[in-house]
Subunit: 329 residues, 4 copies
C-alpha cells in the first residue's frame, strides 16, 4: 500500500514515519514539510506539499493543523486517496459544534459527519471507510477510560464528570514557542485551560453523550508534565444506583477482554506513563474512592495510541488489513 | 536562639539546615543523623542522636519518622526545649484517629491534642506554644486552597470533595528504595494511593471538618511528578447555593490579603510549581468550571512551606519572634 | 533455543527479557531474582536462583554482579549450557589484571582468558564459542570509537589518550543507594572516578593495546548525565605523522561500511544520545580539532549495545544464528 | 543606585532582575523588552527600549544580543551611565579578533579594548571603571579553572589544552527555536561546535594567553546537558616539568583563599552542578590523571557567576560598593 503524509515534520508526523517504516504493507511515497523540505528523517526525504500528489497513493495521513486539514482532505479524496485526518477538523459531527470549539467557520462542512476513528468504540463504522477523523490524544485517553461505564449506564445521570488529565510536552506540538522551551518546562508542573476551556472538551462530550445522552457536564483539567511523551487521565466517576467497584470491574473486563491494544490492569495495580511510553497500547486501572464513586486511571502514549499508531490502526481498517498489523511488537 | 535538629540528613532536615543558617536569630547547636554522623553539610557536622542533648537548646525540630518523633518530643519537652514535630505523630487530635490512619497505637497519647501548626489558619493558638505539630505537605497545600471556602460555608454540604494532587519526588523521603531511583522515575508519571488510602486524608479531613463540620467526604488522589520539589493540588469544589466564582474570589482576597506567605493570583493566571520551588510561599489560583463548581489550584514547595520553612514559621511564633523572620528573601 | 537469565531483575536483565521476548529463536526458560521471585515482568515470572537449572537450557546470560558471575559461569558450563557473562568477571585476560582493577582474587582463574565479545572487533573468535565475556558499556563505546584508528596505527605512539565519557544513570545499576535517588540526580551533572580510577580503564587499555601495543596511557573521565539511558564518549586523539581528518574518515568508512549495528555519521553531523536510546546500534561522528588532533564522538544505549543487545548479538554468534537476529527492528 | 536593564526578558535579564531586587543598593528604573513590554516580572514592568532613558540611571546592564550591545553601550556612556555589557561585543581586545570570531565588522571599535570583567583575575582594572565587558559563561568557568596554572607557568608550553565543557540549556537563550524545545532536549545529551568552532574559544585563548603567552592551542568541546542551569568544564592539563598535583593544589589554595565566590574543594571531593545551581559562586576540584597531567573540574551557574551575578559583582566594583554586596546569601 502506498501512503503519503502531509505535515510530516511535526511530532505526530515523525512518529508516523517510524511506524510506517516498520509496517509490512505500507510504503511511504511522500512526506511533506515546507520547512524541512530536502532534509531526511529515517531514510525519508521531506518534500514540499506542492510536490506531493495524492493521486499516486492509496491513503494519506494528514498531520497538518486544523483549518488546513479539511480542504486537503477534500482534495485528497477527490484525487482518489483515502484519508486519515489527525487534526481536529473532522472530529465534530456538525459545523456548528466545530465553530463553537474552534472559533471559526468549518472549512469544508460537506465532509461532516466523518466516522470517528476510535476503533475500540466504533470499529464497525470504520472498516473500508474512505475518510476517518482520528481522535485527539485527551479524548482517546478519556473515552477509553469512561466508555464502558457510559455504555452500561453506570454513571449517575446528570452528575458532573471530573477528569484531571496530564500530558507530556510533545502534545503541544513542534512549533517553537517560548512556553515549551526546555528551560521553561524543566522542573515545572502546571495546569492549563482548566474547567471547560480546552477544545477537547467538546469532542469528549460529543462522544460520551453519543454513548449515553443522560450524562452530565464534563469538567476537564489538563496539566503539563515535564516529560516528552505520555498522557494520563484520572477520572472521578459518580456511580448510578446499584453499581459497585466489583460490577464496574466486570464491565471493563468484558469490554476489553478481546482488545489487543487496551490492557485492564488487575486490582491492586495502577496505570502509569512509563508502561505505555513508546508503545501502541493503552492501560486502565480501576480504584475505589467512596461507595458511590470510582476512580478510573487511563494512560497511553500521546504520540502513539493518542495519534500516530491509532492512525495506522484506522488505516489498517480502511484498507481491510488486519487491524493491528505493524502495531504489535 | 539555640536550635537542634533530630533526623537532619533527610530532605526536610537538610532544608532546615539551609534555612536556619540564613536565619538572623537561630544558631544550630546540633543536627543528628546516625547514618551520616561525622559528615558535614553547609558547615554543620552531623552528630549521633545519642550525642545530642535537648537541654542545651531553646527549641528542637524533629525530622524523625512517625513513631520515633513522639517519644523524642516528650523527652525534649521534659529537657526544657520547645518542640516542632515535622512528623505525623502529633497531627491527629486523638490517639484513635492516629491508630486508624497510621496502623499502630500512638506512642505518647498524653501529648494529644497538640496545636496544629498552619499559621494562616491557626495563628492565635501557636504563639508562645511549647509544642507544635507541623502539618504535612499535602494537607498544607490542600488546606490553604480550601480553607477560605470551608470557613465561609461556600462548599455544598455533604458533597464529595475531589482533590487531585501532584508532588515532586523529594516528598517520598531520602531512604533508598527502588521505586524512587532516578531511572525508575525518569520519564514516568503515576498516581499512588488514590481514593482514600493516603494517610494525609485523615489529617486533611480533620482540619476541614474543624472549619466546617458539614463538609462531605474527601476523595484524594496523589500523583508523583518527575521533578525533585514542588506540590500542586487541583481541587474541584461544589459550591453551596448562592455562591459564584466572583464572590468566592472575594473571600480569598480577604483571607490572604495580609498573609505574606500566601499569594492569590489575579484572574487569568494559573498557579504553577516553578513559581514556588525554592521559595517559602504558597500560591493559589481560582478557575471557573461550571456554574456550581470552582477549581482551586494551590501550589508550594513541599520541602519549604510544605515542611521546613513552615517549621521555622512556627518556631518564630513559639519564640515570639516576627513570624516571617528569615523567610522573606 | 532455550535461554536462562541469572540476575534478571536489574536493568540489564530486564532489558534482556524484553529483547529475548521479541527474538524469533529464543525462549526464556528461567529468569532469576532472589529479591523479586514470584513477581512478573513482561510475562516472565522471576524464580529464585536455587530453582534455576542451567542444564535445561542451551545458553545462560549472567547479569549477576562481578564475583558472583564467574563461579556461576563455571557451573553453567559444566551443566552443558553456553554462557554470556555480562559482568566484568571474564573480561580481563589474566587473573592478575583482574585483581589489579577489581581488588580481589579472581574467583575462577581457569576460565581466563575468555573471548571478548565485541563482535565488530573480534567476530571470528566468537562464532560457536561456549563462553563469552560481554564487554562493559564504557569499553564498548570507547573501543568502537577508537579501534579503527588504533588498528591503522593512526594514533601518535605513546601519547596520552583522553576520553571524556558521559553515561545515563541506569549504568549505576538498580540496587537502591542514596546517590542515585531521583531527587539527588535531578538537575545535577557530575564527574566521578576521573583520571584512571574507573575499573573500565583496565578493560579499555587491554583491548586497545591488543590492537596496537604502542599506544600511550588512557585518561578516562566518566560523568553522570541526568537521563535514564544513553552513553556518549568524546575522545581526543593525537594523530600520528601523516594522518589527517580526511584519511581518518576513510578508515572509519571501511571499518564500518558492512557493520549493521554501527553507523558512521556523515561530515557535519554530530552523534547524540537521543538517536541511539532504545536502539541496538552505535553511532560515531568525526570532528576536526587541530591539524594533529581529531575528536571522535561515539554513542550508544548503555543497556542495549552497551550490555543486553550486545549479549544477544554474542549469543546469536555462539549458536550460529544470524548475528543480528532479533536486533534489527 | 539607579539601574537600567536592556534586553531584560531573556534568561540573563530575568536573573538580573531577581538579583537587583534583592540588592540593598540598586533600584531598577527600567527593564526593556520590546516583546514583553507591559508585562510584569517580579514586580518590574517591562518597557520598550524606546521608552528607556539611560541618562536617568547610574548604570545600565546590557543583556542585548551581540551586534546590538556595542552601539547601545556607546549611547549609554554618552548619556552618562556606566555600562556592564553582558554580550560578547566588548570582550575581544581588537576589532580584528571580533571579526574573526563573530563574522562581522565590530560595530563600535572605538570602545575596544574594554576591561574584561572577571574580578578574580582582573580586579584592579575594574574598580570605578565606566564600561566593562562581562565574560561569557564558558570562559568564566574555564578561566577560573585554569588561571592559577597559567599564571604559575605550570602548564607545558605549547601543548594542546583540552577542555570538555557541558552546559545547561538556558545558555542557549530564550529565543524560541526547535532544537531547544523541551521534547527535543529531554532524554538527550550531545556535543556541539566541538574542536575550535565555538565563539568562546577566541575569548578563552585571548585571556589565557594574556596570562601566559607560551600556552598551546585550546581544544574546546561544549555539550548540552538536559538541565536548565549549570555549567561544568573538565580540563585536561599537561604539566610543565617539575609540577605535581601537590604543588598544583598549593597554587590554587593561594589563588582562591581570599575569594568569597570561588571554592576550592578538598582532595577527594568532586565539583558538581547541583552544588552551584542558583548560587553566585564557582567551585573547583583537582584530580590526578597521570604523573604529567592533572584534571581540573570547574563548575558554576551559567546564569549567575557565568552571567548575571558576575555582572552585579562588576557593577559593585564600578560603583565602589563592596564587591559581593547583594551576592552572599
Amino acid at each position: 500500500m502506498k501512503a503519503g503524509i502531509y505535515g510530516a515534520a511535526g511530532y505526530t508526523g515523525l512518529e508516523l514515519i517510524g511506524l510506517l517504516n516498520q509496517h509490512p504493507e505500507f510504503e511511504i511515497c511522500f512526506a511533506t514539510s515546507d520547512n524541512y523540505a530536502g532534509q531526511k528523517y529515517q531514510g525519508i526525504t521531506f518534500s514540499t506539499s506542492a510536490d506531493a500528489d495524492a493521486s499516486t497513493v492509496d491513503l494519506v495521513f494528514l498531520c497538518t493543523p486544523h483549518g488546513v486539514s479539511a480542504p486537503l482532505a477534500a482534495r485528497s479524496l477527490d484525487a482518489g486517496a483515502k484519508v486519515v485526518d489527525l487534526s481536529a477538523d473532522l472530529r465534530m459531527k456538525t459545523a456548528d459544534a466545530y465553530q463553537q470549539w474552534y472559533g471559526h467557520t468549518h472549512p469544508v462542512p460537506a465532509l461532516l459527519p466523518t466516522p470517528y476513528g476510535l476503533p475500540e468504540l466504533n470499529r464497525p463504522n470504520l472498516i473500508r471507510q474512505n475518510c476517518i477523523a482520528n481522535p485527539g490524544c485527551y479524548p482517546t485517553t478519556t473515552l477509553l477510560g469512561l466508555a464502558p461505564l457510559a455504555k452500561a449506564k453506570a454513571i449517575r445521570a446528570g452528575a458532573n464528570l471530573i477528569v484531571d488529565a496530564k500530558s507530556g510536552v510533545s502534545g503541544a506540538g513542534r512549533q517553537p514557542k517560548v512556553d515549551i522551551l526546555f528551560s521553561e518546562v524543566f522542573g515545572d508542573f502546571k495546569p492549563y485551560n482548566v474547567g471547560r476551556k480546552h477544545r477537547h472538551v467538546g469532542e469528549i462530550e460529543q462522544e460520551l453523550h453519543a454513548l449515553n445522552p443522560n450524562l452530565g457536564t464534563l469538567i476537564f483539567s489538563p496539566h503539563l508534565i515535564p516529560i516528552d511523551r505520555g498522557l494520563l487521565a484520572t477520572s472521578y466517576v459518580p456511580l448510578a444506583e446499584g453499581w459497585t467497584l466489583e460490577n464496574v470491574r466486570q464491565i471493563y473486563e468484558s469490554a476489553y477482554a478481546d482488545e489487543p491494544l487496551v490492557t485492564l490492569l488487575p486490582a491492586g495495580e495502577t496505570a502509569r506513563v512509563k508502561e505505555v511510553a513508546n508503545t501502541n497500547g493503552a492501560m486502565i486501572s480501576l480504584h475505589a474512592a467512596t461507595p458511590d464513586t470510582v476512580i478510573v486511571v487511563s494512560v497511553l502514549d500521546n504520540l502513539r495510541k493518542g495519534a500516530a499508531s491509532q492512525a495506522v490502526q484506522n488505516a489498517n481498517l480502511m484498507l481491510n488489513l488486519p487491524e493491528t498489523m505493524g502495531l504489535l511488537i
